[in-house]
C-alpha cells in the first residue's frame, strides 16, 4: 500500500516537473533573447532600424525589408497550403475509402519528415528554372518559390493534424445530419468541419508556424535580396527573410558586436510574431468553446 503511494508520488512529481519545465524553458529562452537582443535598441538609432536598407557590414540595420520578406513568404505559403491542406484532410478523413486512407495518411506523414535542405535542392534544380521560364520573370529565385516550397512543407502538418481533428468528431453527428436529409457535402461543410474547428485551426497555426520558422529552404531559393515588398508583385521578386538573415550571418558575427545584438533583436521580433499567431489562434478556439458550452447547457 505504502509502496504504491510512493510510486504514485514519484510519478506525479515527474509529470509535474516535465510539465513545468516546458514553461521554464520557454521563459529562459525569452530571457536569453532579451538579454542578447535588448542592447540593440540603445546601440542602434530608431531611424536606422526603421529604414529600408539592410547592409550590416556598413552599419545599415534596416529590419523592415526582413520583416516584410518573412511576412510575404509566409503569406504566400499560407495562401495555398491552407486550402490544399484542408481539402486533403477532408478527403482523407471523410471521402476516401478505408484502404486508401490507410495508405494516404502515413504517406503524408512521411512527406512531413522530408529534410528541408533536400527540398531546397529540388527547389534550386527544378522549381527555380521552371518558375523563371514559366512566368517569364528575370530570376526564379523569388519569394514565390520560397512560398511554394514552404507551403509544400506546411501541407503535411496541416493534413495530419486536421485529419485527426475531423476523425475525432463523433460518428453520431454525421449520422444525425444524414438522417435529417443533408447531403454528404452539406454534412462535411456544415456539421463535421464546424465541430472540428478548433483542431483544424490548430492545424493551420502549426502549419504557418512551420513556414515562418523555416530557414534552410528559404535561404536556398528566395535569393535573399533585402528588398522591402510593396504590393503583391513583390511575391515574384527576391526577398530576404528574418530566419535566413540570422542563419546566414550569425556564424561569422563577432560576439557582443552591434550586429550580433541586432541579430538577436530580429530573433525577438520573430518570437513575438509567432507568439501573436498562437495567441490569435488560441483566442479563436477559446471563444468557440465558450459558445459551444452555452449551447449545450
Amino acid at each position: 500500500m505504502r509502496l504504491k503511494d510512493a510510486g504514485e508520488l514519484i510519478t506525479t512529481a515527474l509529470i509535474k516537473t516535465a510539465g513545468y519545465s516546458a514553461i521554464v524553458f520557454v521563459t529562459m529562452i525569452f530571457i536569453f533573447l532579451l538579454r542578447e537582443g535588448a542592447p540593440a535598441v540603445t546601440q542602434v538609432k530608431p531611424a536606422n532600424f526603421w529604414q529600408l536598407r539592410w547592409y550590416p557590414i556598413e552599419d545599415y540595420f534596416g529590419i523592415l525589408p526582413l520583416i516584410g520578406g518573412s511576412l510575404i513568404v509566409t503569406f504566400g505559403a499560407a495562401l495555398f497550403a491552407v486550402p490544399l491542406g484542408l481539402a486533403s484532410a477532408i478527403f482523407i478523413a471523410e471521402i476516401a475509402p478505408r484502404w486508401a486512407r490507410e495508405i494516404l495518411k502515413p504517406l503524408v506523414e512521411v512527406l512531413g519528415g522530408l529534410p528541408s535542405v533536400m527540398l531546397g535542392f529540388i527547389g534550386i534544380l527544378v522549381i527555380v528554372p521552371a518558375i523563371r521560364t514559366g512566368l517569364n520573370i528575370p530570376t526564379g529565385l523569388t519569394a514565390f518559390t520560397g512560398a511554394l516550397l514552404l507551403g509544400g512543407m506546411a501541407i503535411p502538418t496541416i493534413v495530419s493534424v486536421a485529419e485527426d481533428a475531423l476523425d475525432s468528431v463523433p460518428r453520431t453527428y454525421r449520422d444525425a445530419s444524414l438522417a435529417m436529409g443533408a447531403t454528404r457535402w452539406q454534412t462535411i461543410w456544415r456539421v463535421t468541419l464546424p465541430a472540428a474547428r478548433s483542431g483544424v485551426l490548430t492545424a493551420f497555426m502549426l502549419g504557418i508556424g512551420r513556414a515562418i520558422g523555416e530557414t534552410m529552404t528559404v535561404m536556398m531559393v528566395t535569393g535573399n535580396a533585402p528588398v522591402f515588398p510593396t504590393g503583391l508583385g513583390a511575391l515574384f521578386k527576391p526577398a530576404r527573410t528574418m530566419t535566413a538573415t540570422i542563419a546566414a550571418e550569425m556564424g561569422e558575427v563577432a560576439n557582443g558586436s552591434v550586429h550580433y545584438h541586432v541579430l538577436f533583436f530580429i530573433g525577438i521580433v520573430l518570437f513575438l510574431i509567432s507568439l501573436a499567431v498562437n495567441l490569435a489562434a488560441a483566442s479563436v478556439v477559446f471563444r468557440q468553446r465558450r459558445r459551444a458550452e452555452r449551447i449545450l447547457s
Binding site: 547592409y55 527555380v128 535573399n224 528588398v227 561569422e252 563577432a254
Partner: protein
C-alpha cells in the same frame, strides 16, 4: 569574440589530437618537437588548415594550430608575440609595422598564394568583356539592362556572395568601389545574396540574365568567364594562373604569411614546403591561384 576563438582553438586542439593518432605508433613516446601557432585572415583559414593537415602527415613531430579571426587579428597577435605565423589577405600596414618595431619584432613577408575573382555569366549571354567601371555600375544599380554593355535586351540579375564572405568584402572594396577609399558606393538592394559558390553557379548555369562573381578556382565549365579591363583604355584580360601571376588581371590579390623576424629552422622548413608544388596543388583545390615559378 573571445569565447568564439577560445572555442575554435579547443576544437582545433581536439582535431589535431585525433588526426595525430593514426600516424603515431605510440602517441606518448614521440613528443612534438615544436608547435606552430598560425592565426589570421578568414580568407586563408581553410587553406592554412589544409596545409597544416597535410604537413602533419609528412612531419608528425610538428604540430600546427590554425585559427581565423581576420588579417588584423593575426597581425596584432604577431606583434604581441603570441603567434608564429600571421595570415593576411592584405599587406601589413605602416602603422602595424611601426607597432611591431616598437615591440622589437620585424615582420617578414611571404607571398603564399594568389586570389583572383572571376566575373561569370551564362554561356548563352553574348557579352565577352567588361571594364571594372561597368561591373561597378552594374552592381550599384545604375546599369540594369545587358544592352547597355553590348548584350541583348535582357534585365540584369545581380548575384553576390553573402556579406560574411571574404570574397564579398574584397569585391565591395576593389570592384564596386574601384579601390577608392572615399568611395561609399553600396550594392544595389536587389542584389541576390547567395550563401554558397554552388548557389551562384546553379543560378548562372540556367539563367541568361544573371551575372555573378566568385574565386577563380571555383569556376566550372558550365559558366562563361568574362574578360575584364581596369578601364576603357586598358586591354581586356581573361583570368588564368598566368595573367594573375604576372599582375595583368585586375581583380586579383596576393595572400600573405608574416613571421616575426627571419623564420627559424622549423618555420623555415614549413614555409619552404608551402612554396613547393605539392603544397601549391592544395591551393588550386581550394579555389585560389597557385604561385608560378
Amino acid at each position: 569574440m573571445d569565447r568564439r576563438s577560445a572555442a575554435s582553438l579547443l576544437l582545433l586542439a581536439a582535431f589535431s589530437l585525433t588526426s595525430c593518432q593514426p600516424s603515431q605508433s605510440s602517441p606518448s613516446s614521440i613528443a612534438p618537437a615544436r608547435t606552430i601557432e598560425n592565426k589570421g585572415s578568414d580568407t586563408i583559414v581553410n587553406l592554412a588548415l589544409a596545409w597544416a593537415e597535410r604537413y602533419q602527415t609528412i612531419k608528425p613531430e610538428v604540430r600546427i594550430s590554425v585559427t581565423g579571426g581576420g588579417s588584423g587579428t593575426g597581425i596584432a597577435s604577431l606583434i604581441n608575440g603570441t603567434v608564429d605565423i600571421a595570415n593576411a589577405s592584405r599587406q601589413i600596414k605602416e602603422e602595424e609595422r611601426a607597432d611591431a618595431q616598437a615591440n622589437g619584432i620585424s615582420p617578414v613577408e611571404f607571398v603564399i598564394a594568389r586570389d583572383a575573382i572571376a566575373i561569370i555569366i551564362n554561356p548563352e549571354n553574348p557579352v565577352e568583356r567588361l571594364t571594372l567601371q561597368q561591373i561597378s555600375a552594374i552592381y550599384s544599380g545604375s546599369i540594369n539592362n545587358w544592352n547597355e554593355v553590348g548584350g541583348e535586351d535582357r534585365p540584369i540579375v545581380r548575384l553576390s556572395r553573402e556579406t560574411n564572405s571574404g570574397t564579398h568584402v574584397y569585391f565591395l572594396e576593389n570592384v564596386l568601389r574601384l579601390g577608392e577609399k572615399e568611395n561609399k558606393t553600396l550594392f544595389s538592394t536587389d542584389t541576390l545574396l547567395l550563401p554558397s559558390s554552388e548557389g551562384i553557379t546553379a543560378e548562372i548555369r540556367q539563367n541568361p540574365n544573371a551575372i555573378g562573381y566568385d574565386g577563380l578556382g571555383y569556376v566550372t565549365d558550365e559558366v562563361k568567364v568574362v574578360a575584364v579591363a581596369a578601364n576603357a583604355d586598358s586591354p581586356y584580360i581573361m583570368p588564368s594562373a598566368d595573367t594573375v601571376n604576372n599582375g595583368q588581371y585586375p581583380i586579383a590579390r596576393d595572400l600573405y604569411m608574416y613571421t616575426a623576424g627571419e623564420p627559424g629552422d622549423v618555420l623555415k622548413t614549413y614555409l619552404d614546403w608551402i612554396m613547393s608544388p605539392d603544397a601549391q596543388l592544395i591551393v588550386r583545390e581550394l579555389g585560389f591561384v597557385p604561385l608560378l615559378r
